[in-house]
Amino acid sequence: MDTTPVFSVEGLWKVFGPKADRVPGDPELTALDPAELRERTGCTAAVRDVSFDVRKGEVFVVMGLSGSGKSTLVRCLTRLIEPTAGTIAIDGEDVRAMDRSRLRELRRHRAAMVFQHFGLLPHRTVIDNVAYGLEIQGMGKAERRERAAEVVAKVGLEGMEHRRPGQLSGGQRQRVGLARALAVDPEVLLFDEPFSALDPLIRREMQDEVVRLHHEEGRTMVFITHDLQEALKLGDRIALMRDGRVVQLGTPEEIVGSPADDYVREFVRDVPREQVMTVRTAMRRPTADQDGSGPAVRPEATVSEAIEAVARAGAPARVMDKGRCVGVVDSDTLLGVVAGTEQPAPPGTEQPKEAV
């Protein structure tokens, strides 16, 4: 299997302001916090020394509050905003070294973006909006309409092909935005807070749509959001940003289970842990006498699923991985996770036996 990351970002900086170039290279300036930097230089560092890889087929979520630099970050990936320093590679190819035509090629075929306020052309019908990316590529009218019609059906907008964006609801408009991005069959989909302008119910519906699409196509996605629930629901891995820096990068479980600092801890405080943490983190080593009895759960099952199993059986559950018992969860261990009293070690490391 190809293990080259789809996007590989290394030491990325984006500084706005006069003579922004000097900031990333100057250790004295990079040490300053945002307010001091603005006072000293008049510059704002929106993205500060960010590094991450986006693996093929994963949903990579960048999350942070407004002003944390996440939207700037995603725009830097296709150079809609020109980065100040650092490297970006797509499939190993240096994005910052691309010339204009190569960059257009990247935007046309390899990465398509979905925007917060949809960014639809109000004077075009749904079908022509969806076909717009193909039109830009120079595809003939009949062909692009045919392709667009397929995508329109895929996002559930059949019958609305000839409406204008102004006649659609917010959720429908974002479906058009999604369809427009999908129509060009990109390698990566970039989402910039696509659902934050929508009502809660529609938002959930659209999230499910994204989950479904990802499930069906396995397309790599970079998803920007300020909504923690959304991040946990969609993300295979989450990069949590604050003041332009990534403060923690990990799976939802790692973020919730072992916050890197007080900021992250405060952030995830209200998360229902049992729905994020998996049995793998909660389990303890099986003791000989328990081997072979009790209900079986998978290691990836959430703690809440295990609670249900344990409650039904009235006995500890066995964690079964490929037919082998790798651990045991009982009501005490599960309760410890829910209460957050116990600090589970990151997955992969062995759970100390003496832990409750």
Binding site: R75, R107, A112, F115, G119, L121, P122, I136, V184, L190
Partner: protein, 649 residues
């Protein structure tokens, strides 16, 4: 605690000093205390000292002579301006002949069917009726002449405006260069543009078309740039994110997104072009404007009205049809649009061919209804019975006379009697208190330039007429505007009236006032008031209605009476709109007051007319420059600070 230090401010010197207006005035007073005695000692007080004037008439006359002598030989004329002039003449002639060839029935059908396609059946009927009315009034040929000139001028204006607008919309540097120029052009009276073009092209159709283009292109440029810059940033970003080239972005996104502004620009350009095409009769445009001009020169109100009505009809029709085209944008596109246009085209061709076969291309003489005679009889009757001696209320001429002796004369004498430096000081103080030091500086320099040009006295005469007209306009306009803002019924009644009045070219307003008041300064002022009033009423009403309803609700919930609401909430919050109304009132009034030179308004307007009539371009150019300065000064004096504040906020 903060509340302790912020105890109620004592009204005293330190408190007063904190107010910026007072500080500015104090500074000015200080400067005046030093400079005025010096100026007084050096140059006499009273009117603008002759030592400070620069005589432009001689170099201007020389330049004018040089141009006249070299018009047929100098390469600049041979290879550039001559071609421009020829192209314009040929284009206007071609359009004119085409219109005549289609015949009156064909043109009427063309107008009606285009209106039908663009704006619907009702406007189509209106358009057809308007054209027929032009024929009935015996004005078919002049209408076609004006229309031909307009078509050429509008096409040229739209192209020029579009190009300038594209430049300003796409490049920040061009925007910085063009914006102040376009802003300033917007406030200058149409009359000021006439002489420079005459200087270069001589009196005739090319000069008229060029003056029209110069006058009508700026709104197109401004709105194009505005539309391009106002486009939704995220849409443009989305388009860019799909890998579009700059050209694709412009053609598929930026221009389509700016359609509303573009069409509004076309609409405004057409209206301004009509307005100017009529005024340009003074420099040889011919057509309807010329008929009005000739009739006014001989105080033949009937003939002026016969030519004036087609102008008004053209204005209303053109405005409604182009306006409707703009409103249709964004609506569901009709199916089979092409078919409708094809049908319309076929209809026009059929009517035109039928007219040709019937040998009825020209409007039949027997169908002309002469309204000049009866109208003049009515005017004569009015002169005999209403001009003076009406019991109790007096007569219209009496009013005009009283207005002249009791208002205009004292104001003019007062202004002219003021020491020159005090006029500059007043201008500086007003402009600085309302605006910024920049606007104040521009205003003072403009006023000083008037003095330097040697037309101090006639300029103050014009200024006195402007001020008198503006005061009346504002009093009536604010009162009507406030009333309309408070009563929906009144607003509904007023709206169609305002719509019609705002579309009429400036020139037309002179006709009724001459009928009512004869000639002189009072009628010029009256025409200016009528012209500026609709804009002032509209801006006031809109300003008051746009006041945050939450603020009104809050004051209402505290038990404020509606008078208290008006005085304490609506008027203060609508202050920017009211200031804009003052600004627009001044600009519009000035435009008509100078045109009033045609009906005995005297002063700068008369200098322009005189310069044109006598071929004394130097006098006219100096007066034109003074009009420009006056316009600039009046605009800057009332320029709200807001345009500059943005940076801080």
């Amino acid at each position: 605690m903060a509340t302790i230090t912020a105890s109620p401010p004592r009204v005293g010197l330190p408190g007063l000093l904190k107010r910026p207006a007072v500080r500015k005035l104090l500074f000015l007073a200080l400067a005046a205390a030093i400079l005025v005695p010096l100026a007084n000692a050096r140059w006499a007080s009273g009117t603008w000292p002759s030592a400070l004037t620069v005589d432009f008439s001689e170099p201007l006359a020389k330049a004018s002579d040089w141009i006249i002598d070299n018009r047929d030989s100098h390469p600049l004329f041979l290879y550039f301006l001559g071609h421009v002039s020829n192209v314009v003449v040929i284009a206007v002639r071609a359009v004119y002949l085409t219109l005549l060839a289609i015949g009156w029935a064909g043109v009427t059908a063309l107008g009606a069917l285009v209106a039908w396609r663009v704006a619907g059946v009702r406007l189509a009927l209106g358009t057809g009726t308007a054209f027929l009315a032009c024929g009935l009034l015996g004005m078919w040929v002049p209408t076609m002449q004006t229309l031909a000139l307009m078509v050429v001028a509008v096409v040229a204006s739209v192209v020029v405006g579009l190009l300038l607008g594209l430049a300003a919309g796409l490049s920040d540097r061009m925007d910085r260069v063009l914006r102040p120029v376009l802003d300033t052009m917007q406030v200058l009276p149409a009359f000021a543009y006439l002489l420079p073009v005459v200087l270069i092209f001589g009196i005739g159709v090319p000069a008229a078309v060029l003056a029209t283009v110069i006058y009508a292109a700026p709104p197109m440029a401004r709105l194009t740039s505005l539309g391009l810059r106002g486009a939704d940033k995220e849409v443009l970003e989305a388009v860019q994110s799909l890998g579009s080239t700059a050209r694709q972005r412009l053609l598929t996104a930026r221009l389509p997104l700016a359609r509303k502004e573009l069409l509004l620009g076309v609409n405004q350009t057409i209206m301004m072009a009509l307005s100017m095409a009529v005024i340009a009769a003074v420099i040889g445009a011919g057509g309807l404007g010329d008929r009005v001009y000739q009739a006014l020169a001989s105080v033949d109100v009937g003939a002026a009205l016969a030519a004036g009505i087609p102008i008004v009809l053209l204005a209303v029709v053109l405005d409604r049809v182009t306006g409707a085209a703009g409103e249709r944008i964004g609506a569901e596109p009709e199916p089979r649009r092409g078919l409708g246009w094809l049908l319309a085209l076929a209809g026009v061709v059929a009517v035109a061919v039928a007219g040709r076969l019937a040998g009825r291309l020209d409007w039949p003489d027997s169908w002309v209804v002469g309204i000049a005679e009866p109208v003049n009889r009515v005017v004569d009757w009015m002169t005999a019975h209403l001009y003076s001696g009406v019991p109790v209320i007096g007569g219209t001429a009496d009013w005009a006379g009283h207005f002249t002796t009791w208002v205009l004369d004292p104001m003019r004498d007062g202004l002219q009697g003021l020491p020159w430096w005090s006029v500059l000081l007043i201008v500086a103080a007003l402009a600085w208190v309302i605006g910024t030091w920049r606007t104040a500086l521009t205003a003072v320099l403009a006023m000083a330039a008037i003095g330097a040009l040697g037309v101090w006295k006639p300029s103050l005469d014009t200024l006195s007429q402007v001020l008198a007209a503006v005061v009346v306009t504002l009093v009536v306009g604010f009162a009507t505007g406030i009333a309309a803002a408070r009563s929906d019924r009144l607003e509904r009644l007023l709206r169609p009236v305002l719509d019609v009045f705002q579309t009429m070219p400036q020139f037309v307003y002179l006709i009724p006032v001459v009928a009512l008041f004869g000639v002189g300064r009072a009628p010029a002022v009256a025409a200016a008031i009528v012209y500026a009033l609709p804009a002032v009423v509209r801006i006031t009403t809109q300003g008051l209605r746009q006041v945050d309803p939450a603020a009104l609700e809050a004051s209402g919930s505290l038990g404020a009476t509606s008078w208290q609401q008006l005085r304490q909430v609506q008027l203060p919050l609508a202050r920017p709109a009211l200031l804009l109304a003052v600004n627009q009132g001044l600009v519009l009034v000035l435009a008509v007051v100078v045109i009033g030179g045609l009906v005995g308004g005297g002063a700068l307007g008369y200098d322009v007319v005189f310069g044109l009539a006598q071929g004394d371009l130097a006098t006219g150019l100096v007066a034109g420059a003074a009009i420009v300065c006056l316009g600039l000064m009046l605009d800057r004096v009332t320029q709200p600070t807001e345009r500059r504040v943005k940076k801080g906020a």
